[in-house]
């Protein structure tokens, strides 16, 4: 057994209860162990003491003055009184002060009912105020940024938001301005408060100063119904509470003690909930007749789907394929492959985008391993925009002293002080490892198989490796484990009927006129697959395409049959996250589901019955999910050769064009085709069509940040395609790269093709910016 570090204990007496706590424990934490509340505003367990709010006053025997419980370390034999007259008097005095200039607008405050100022004033306050003078006025309903509204009058200046921005996120956008009683919270620059984690400050705020735009005046906390679930917006799988009222999801709240999220939520997970009741939700199956969609009933839809599959299988099982699973639950992914394989179909895949592989193999890391890593290697795209809460862990580790090594990075460095190196190749990355480093975390975007393979092969022996593949789709890893892959059945076993063809190969077949039926469940390859034109051509040439979706997406438009699906908050199941944790997905209580929308699970049951395929028993399903997801597949490596796909049709620069840059598509958490495009309240968060280029290339091409340019590609087979974009000159970006924001419905980067060579032309100078 490994030696457990011995913990020095000290004895403390709080309100007459004597007990032991580890040395170094703060009084405020010690009191929690005996369920004794010491009220706090500024203190936060993840940020430590700030000593500002002065309400955690306690009386400590032997000390003449009241002490603040948040910054007093328990010493052996300390006797603490939280309820003594002196302590109560001190608290009462301070609480009265909080209300001297507070607007007392509780009746119209979103925080009313869950406000620490209300609660503590009631529990510990005087009950009346001796202040008779006019309150000072401060700005109200201030637009702090795209997500947050700030009421300065309600602010108790605890600075939790300011400290969160500094200590947890590292952005340091929020500061305290002015002084004394005129203090206000503001951004340092005066610009909009904007990063991927802003929503957390609304929950850190003990009062109603910082509120979410999406939740303002929507509900009283006591009218909400709460469901604990897992966020399925990305592969981290953060624990989240869903609060519903009047049939709609009103807000998403973090789960403080959730080991997955570390107690935070990103803004995508928190705010992208408005699509559930969007008017554009699909509510009835649609069948394309003479080029026009007509509404049909579910029975007809399922019968049409089953007949198309049955007929095609009878002709040639290889002409049938299915794509999906990455956005479905584990149970749905299992059922999907079960039904198709049972019917004799082998062409199954979840890979609707750029990502090739989702399961890291035996050296799969747990999320907590990042907290212990001495070095973190990022290959390909950083988790900043793909798995934001994983990125927060990386920042935490870097701040703690871990070395961050980024191979061919695209995104900017995380804004935290720490050791960070950007390198071009896997070999250089390994050379940058701290001497003697034992615990190394590797975070890979799962795109470039050769790069992933190369890096892991070069790592010195004896390293305790924790590997992560940050997927584009939330349940990519679960779908892979469930067998939604041409080469693997459930549990990564060789499928009974033999290997089939992956999605890229299916597209090739389709373009060659060989595919008869393609079923796409919960995927939008027309927007996310690297070569959008290839997808469109393939789907147009496939006689029968079925798409299950929430909205009429770019892919759904190309379908023969569109099936209205349910979103993650409207069904039950499980999802598997980046670290292999199988997490519950629960339907939100009190949420109205559009009439006519079925979960993919329900659709698949209907399909199975129509196809006369036997269904797995419930316990088979449960066992499959648990055992296969948790299993670390033998022999998997990063960039496993079995994950190779046919190379996409590459582009080449025209002769003599020296300005060609290699296209890299980068993620943005608020880029997307369905859930984002149909969330009206997120309009301000959607990224602009934007290209990042290195300062060297910018100088060579004569462009500056703020200019508009055309990005032009030459594909081998088709005509020139153009995207009109805003330029960002990004320090640290490798030369020769054009990083284009992907996933934008109106300006899809995949229109240019995969790994295309592009040119920057037609520069339009931003006059206003240049004048500045």
């Amino acid at each position: 057994m490994p030696d457990k570090p011995t913990v020095d204990m000290v004895s403390v007496t709080i309100d007459g209860v004597t007990f032991g706590v580890p040395k170094g424990t703060l009084v405020v934490e010690a009191a929690k162990r005996i369920q004794r509340e010491i009220p706090v505003y500024c203190y936060h367990p993840k940020m430590g003491p700030a000593g500002l709010c002065r309400i955690c006053l306690v009386e400590i025997e032997g000390m003449p003055k009241l002490q603040i419980g948040c910054n007093t370390v328990v010493t052996d034999g300390m006797v603490v009184h939280t309820q003594s007259e002196k302590a109560a008097d001190g608290r009462r005095a301070v609480l009265e002060l909080y209300l001297v200039n507070h607007p007392l607008d509780c009746p119209i405050c979103d925080k009313g009912g869950e406000c620490d100022l209300q609660d503590f004033s009631l529990a510990y306050g005087r009950g009346f105020s001796r202040s008779a003078d006019a309150k000072i006025g401060k700005p109200k309903a201030e637009d702090l940024g795209p997500t947050i509204v700030l009421d300065e009058e309600r602010c108790v200046v605890c600075q939790r938001c300011v400290r969160f921005d500094d200590l947890i996120v590292g952005e340091r956008q929020l500061v305290l301005k002015d002084r004394g009683v005129h203090n206000i919270v503001a951004t340092a620059t005066g610009d909009a408060y904007r990063h991927n984690y802003t929503g957390n400050v609304t929950e850190l705020c003990p009062v109603g100063a910082l509120t979410s735009k999406t939740y303002r005046f929507k509900s009283r906390p006591w009218d909400l119904r709460r469901t604990r679930t897992t966020c399925t917006q990305c592969a981290v799988g953060c624990g989240a509470f869903l609060d519903t009222r009047l049939g709609g999801v009103r807000r998403t709240m973090l789960v403080e003690d959730d080991p997955i999220s570390d107690g935070w939520l990103c803004d995508r997970g928190r705010y992208n909930i408005g699509f559930y009741d969007d008017l554009h939700r699909l509510t009835q199956p649609l069948y394309k007749r003479d080029g026009e969609f007509v509404q049909i009933g579910w029975d007809d839809a399922l019968a049409l789907w089953a007949r198309a599959i049955a007929d095609a299988i009878a002709a040639d099982p290889a002409s049938v394929g299915a794509l999906g699973g990455g956005r479905l639950t584990n149970e749905e992914a299992y059922l999907l492959q079960h039904i198709f394989r049972s019917a004799g179909v082998r062409n199954l895949d979840w890979r609707a985008g750029r990502q090739r592989q989702a399961t890291p193999g035996k050296r799969a890391g747990r999320l907590a391993d990042i907290d212990r890593a001495e070095a973190i290697l990022e290959i390909g795209e950083s988790p900043a925009e793909r798995a934001p809460i994983l990125e927060l862990r990386v920042r935490k580790a870097v701040r703690r002293g871990a070395r961050l090594i980024r191979v061919a990075p695209v995104q900017s460095r995380p804004p935290v002080a720490g050791s960070c190196a950007d390198v071009a190749t896997a070999g250089e990355a390994v050379a940058q490892l701290p001497p003697g480093a034992k615990r190394v975390a590797v975070i890979w975007d799962g795109v470039d198989l050769a790069l992933g393979r190369d890096l892991v092969a070069r790592l010195p022996a004896g390293i305790d490796l924790a590997a992560y593949i940050t997927g584009e789709q939330a349940n990519a890893r679960g779908a892979e484990a469930m067998g939604m892959h041409p080469s693997f059945g459930p549990g990564y076993a060789v499928p009974a009927g033999g290997a089939g063809r992956g999605f890229a190969a299916m597209l090739e077949d389709a373009r060659a006129g060989k595919m008869r039926v393609l079923s796409i469940l919960g995927a939008n390859p027309a927007l996310h697959f690297p070569d959008g034109a290839a997808v469109r051509e393939a789907l147009e040439k496939t006689p029968f395409v079925v798409v299950s979706e929430l909205f009429m997406t770019q892919t759904a438009r190309l379908a023969t049959l569109v099936l209205p699906a349910r979103g993650a908050f409207e069904k039950n199941g499980t999802t598997t996250n980046v670290a292999g944790d199988v997490l519950p997905v629960n339907a939100a209580e009190g949420l109205d589901v559009p009439d006519g929308a079925l979960s993919d699970f329900e659709m698949l049951i209907g399909l199975a019955q129509a196809l006369h395929v036997g269904l797995p028993a419930q316990d088979e399903l449960e066992t499959a999910v648990i055992s296969h997801s948790a299993r670390a597949p033998e022999g998997f490596a990063f960039g496993d050769a079995r994950f190779e796909q046919p190379a996409a049709r590459g582009g080449s620069a025209p002769e003599g064009d020296g300005n060609a840059l290699r296209l890299v598509v980068e993620s943005r958490i608020f880029a997307g085709g369905g859930t984002i495009a149909h969330d009206a309240r997120l309009a301000d968060l959607r990224p602009l069509p934007q290209v990042a280029i290195s300062p060297e290339d910018a100088a060579r091409l004569g462009v500056a940040t703020g200019d508009y340019v055309d990005i032009t590609a030459w594909a081998t087979v088709r005509q020139e395609r153009v995207i009109d974009v805003l330029v960002e000159v990004r320090t640290g970006l490798p030369q020769g790269v054009a990083a284009l924001v992907g996933g934008l419905p109106d300006d899809p980067a995949n229109a240019l093709g995969e790994r295309a060579l592009v040119s920057v032309t037609n520069v339009r100078r931003n006059v206003a910016e240049a004048a500045r």
Binding site: P49, A50, G51, L52, C53, R54, I55, L57, K65, L66, N71, D89, G90, A93, V94, L97, Y98, V100, N101, R130, S131, A132, D133, I136, V156, V157, Q159, V175, L176, D178, R179, G180, V181, H182, N183
Partner: protein, 419 residues
Amino acid sequence: MPVVKVLTEGIGEANLRDIAIYEERGGYVQLRRAFEEMSQREVLDLCDASGLRGRGGAGFPTGRKWSFLPGNDKPRYLVCNCDEAEPGTFKDHMLIEETPHLVLEGMLLGAYGIGSHHAFIYIRGEFKRGYEIFSETVRQARAAGYVGKNLFGTGYDLEVTVHRGAGAYICGEETALLNSLEGKRGEPRLKPPFPAVAGLYGMPTVVNNVETLAYLVPILKRGSQWFASVGTERSKGYKIVSISGHVRKPGNYEVPLGTPVRELLEIAGGLRPGRTLAAIQPGGGSSACIFEEQLDLPYDYESLAKAGSMLGSGAVVVMDDTTDFVKAAYNLVRFYAHESCGQCTPCREGGHWLATVLERFVQGRGLQSDIEMLHKVSAEITGLNLCPLGDSIEPFLASVLKRFPEQFEARVLKETVPA
């Protein structure tokens, strides 16, 4: 008359800003002697033995403050606090303008004593002239080889940075000063950790007042015994007292600690003819008043503390019978409310509240119930604050509320209910 000339020697007689004149009068001899003949430990011991206490306000023994520095190999910094802004205090102002080389020599000695290779001086934003003079002083000293690399051939490097603040009283509090010096918002830090452990840029740091550091020079010259033999048992040596208010000769006077307050009054020329004494604030805006019957108190740290006040920075404000104590209280409380950084609640809200109420009294619109509230709230906010600023609001207000209640009562709004 007990007035002496130690730090103030030569002021008004010679241009001590000129390094040649300062050297002619024995300047930088002690610095050379310390570097060439004394170990750092000996400098520290000398300081300790002299009984020198911080002259900025808190009166903490300087040698002990130095001894809190941990014995690690981190860089350590000496910071000279010249953010003199305590109401009534104007001694550091004089020292950096009139005898800046003495201040610099003291800083360099202090830095050597604690083993620091980089000393900083934080000069109050309003002291533009002092900043310019001191910057020139450092230039002269650098040219003469007293600042920079390899001082006196000993291999000891010592850099000096002159920093001018931006005009916030709170930056005189040492941790707020360190934040400001680092370019951050000037607000006090939560302690622990104390600056000795994690101060400027997180490194072990000693912050000493201008006058404190300047006294190192005469202490080195004449020995710790010379200094320790003056004053009272625990308040050793000399102190520059800034006397202002209703006296005929306001100014800075250097006296042995323990001089009776009555004598200080005489030194400053006494009251104006025909006036009687109402109150004396003996230690700056943050101190409680003493009165006529306490004039025989020795002016030292202990006696004033025992009398419920403090020596503070040595700012003696004399108020005669013409004083409007409602206005005086409002003036000071408003000052503290205005200077509050606002990060912690009792000071931020309490100071503003008290100032608002006192403003009404000044306008003759006080309420009877306000008088008790002024007493209680000012007492309640004391002792609950993160830094001493919030605790500075009560002493003067409480002492004059108690001594001159009739002045407050007179400003209570009379009820004008029609019969």
